[in-house]
């Protein structure tokens, strides 16, 4: 019966379902946009270079000394992988770089070419030239501002001087293979990335590593829980999640999250009105019809459940349509993003470069929230007219215009 009502009153059903589906689509899209903004911010914060969680030897963060290292990094990385993480060891050292008469302090980074790309997107941040290559150990990738300070281009020579672990002088000549786009102040100004084996050779570091950056394979996994798991695998080491490493940024994202929820709430309320209106019209238009039914012996509970069944069926169809239209659209904007660079160019938040392209992000939450909300809304909207139609005296209903 409910099915017949919907399939036979095509125009009315189309309007009701259409407006509900549109509402659902808007809710999904908004939720995905909001989630995308947060995700982009977090990715910019952690995905480019920070990582979700970092492991250091105690004291390293306060005093980044060449000798303060995490022992047995490969073993630890293997353990972390087994526990559902991606992890990469990193080596750091300070030095001086000189090229064409100028010089600058550099922050050398030994990069694990296999693991680093699994943990962060630094390898995809090359603006000019190419990323590091294992068979070209003398080729380096440097930060944007550093390239500018040194006045170097792709292929230029850079002389590096530093103090090796054994106290001897470390020096060598490197060639610029790639220049990074802006990824954050520290790397922009002093980032000097080289293959980890070359770093170990130059600096005479054979054992241990300075930092292990860790990311969750499953991004929905709770961050603090993940950090505790990592800490348990690295006893005696200092383990911090990105929120502890970048508290200002974390706070900003939290504020953003709250205001997004608020905006979503407003959008959802507007949508709720559409649904409410559709349901009210749908029932009140047909009061007379319900009157006939009741006059010929349909009981109030039967009228009530008929209206409820119809509304729920419509909500299901509307949700299927909303998801059917919404998911591809969201997926599209997940890949292509909405370019906001004309509005703001190269924004930087708390020392992190900010990507001006706004992507959607489809998560369990963005999917379930609109669906759930639609059902609650439809239920809330239909209960009143359904009760009214159920309890109305058949005579009144028959005379209803």
């Amino acid at each position: 019966m409910a099915l017949r009502n919907i399939s036979r009153k095509r125009v009315r059903s189309a309007i009701t379902i259409g407006s509900m589906a549109f509402a659902g689509f808007i809710m999904l899209f908004f939720a995905a946009l909001g989630q995308g903004l947060l995700y982009t911010m977090e990715q910019n914060a952690v995905g480019v270079y920070l990582g979700d969680i970092q492991i250091h030897a105690p004291g390293y963060l306060g005093d980044p000394d060449l000798y303060t290292r995490v022992p047995d990094p490969n073993e630890l990385v293997a353990k972390l992988k087994a526990a559902g993480f991606n992890a990469t060891p990193r080596l750091f050292g300070f030095g001086l770089a000189a090229a064409s008469g100028t010089s600058a302090g550099i922050w050398m980074r030994g990069v694990d070419l296999i693991n680093e790309p699994k943990v962060t997107m630094i390898d995809r941040q090359v603006m000019e030239g190419a990323w590091l290559s294992a068979d070209k150990p003398k080729n380096v990738v440097i930060g944007k501002k550093l390239a500018h300070t040194l006045g170097v281009k792709l292929g230029s020579e850079i002389v590096v001087v530093s103090q090796a672990a054994d106290g001897s002088m470390a020096n060598d000549i490197y060639f610029v293979r790639g220049i990074l786009k802006s990824v954050g102040d520290a790397i922009d100004q002093g980032g000097f990335l080289m293959v980890d084996t070359e770093f170990r050779r130059l600096m005479g570091v054979t054992e241990g590593t300075h930092e292990i950056a860790v990311t969750r394979v499953n991004k929905d996994r709770d961050l603090s829980e993940a950090a505790r798991t990592v800490a348990a695998l690295a006893p005696g080491m200092e383990v911090k999640d990105w929120r502890q490493l970048q508290p200002v940024l974390a706070k900003m994202i939290d504020v953003m999250d709250t205001s997004l929820l608020f905006m979503l709430f407003i959008a959802y309320s507007a949508v709720g009105m559409v649904i409410l209106n559709a349901m009210l019209m749908n029932v009140f238009e047909r009061i007379r019809e319900f009157g006939v039914m009741k006059a010929i012996g349909v009981t109030p509970p039967q009228v009530f459940s008929l209206i409820m069944a119809e509304a729920m069926l419509e909500a299901v169809i509307a949700n299927v349509l909303a998801l059917g239209a919404g998911i591809p659209v969201v997926r599209h904007f997940e890949k292509h993003g909405i370019d906001l660079s004309s509005l703001s160019s190269g924004a930087s938040l708390a020392g992190m470069a900010f990507d001006p392209i706004w992507y959607c992000k489809l998560t369990a939450r963005t999917l379930t929230m609109p669906v759930w909300f639609m059902f609650v809304m439809v239920l809330a909207a239909v209960i009143y007219p359904a009760l009214k139609a159920a309890l109305l005296k058949p005579l009144e209903a028959l005379h209803h215009q």
Binding site: R8, T299, K393, L398
Partner: protein, 231 residues
Amino acid sequence: MDNGPIIKLENVTKVYHQGKINVTAIDGFSVAVDKGDFTALCGPSGSGKTTILNIVGALDVPTAGRVTLEGNDLADLSRTALSTMRRDRIGFVFQAYNLIPVLTAYENAEFVLALQGMPERERRARVMEMLKEVGLEGLENRRPEELSGGQQQRVAIARAMVTQPAVILADEPTANLDSATAASLLSIMEHLNISHGITFLFSTHDQRVMDRARRIITLRDGKLAGDERKG
């Protein structure tokens, strides 16, 4: 009880409150209708015909007085019992807007049987038979909007009849029909009354309809003004 009148109204009064004005639609009206009667309720507009039919059909409650249907005092029945009684013992034919618009002629006629929980097969047999009796063979799959007024009323009668109710209440069933259509509708009603022994109580303005009734009850200002039996 089986031998008593099928419908009995005793001193029924109905007062409508319209704002501060009280309208006495029915005023101390008493009548008894026997099983198998073919009775017309007549009277000028506003005399209370519709009100009487609504009260008998348990769609409305009297302000005072007693109404019994097949010996049951309607005042003693619960809401659910009244629904069931309307479903099983009474057939309604209203002046217009009788049918459920989304259902076909067949489905409209079948509706109450489905409510009663009758098995599909038995339903089908009964509905087809009844649609045939009211001359709607071949139009089973039309929806109300695709039927003429007379055809719609015939569907309504078929729907009222299929459950084999004790009584069919019809409020000006011919009011929206031209006289030829009205006459054929009347013939169908007469035929069903005779062959199935179903009691008919219908209101009308139409002299030609009154001519075919076997009993004419006349109302004036909510009071009984005449009760005439023919044949």
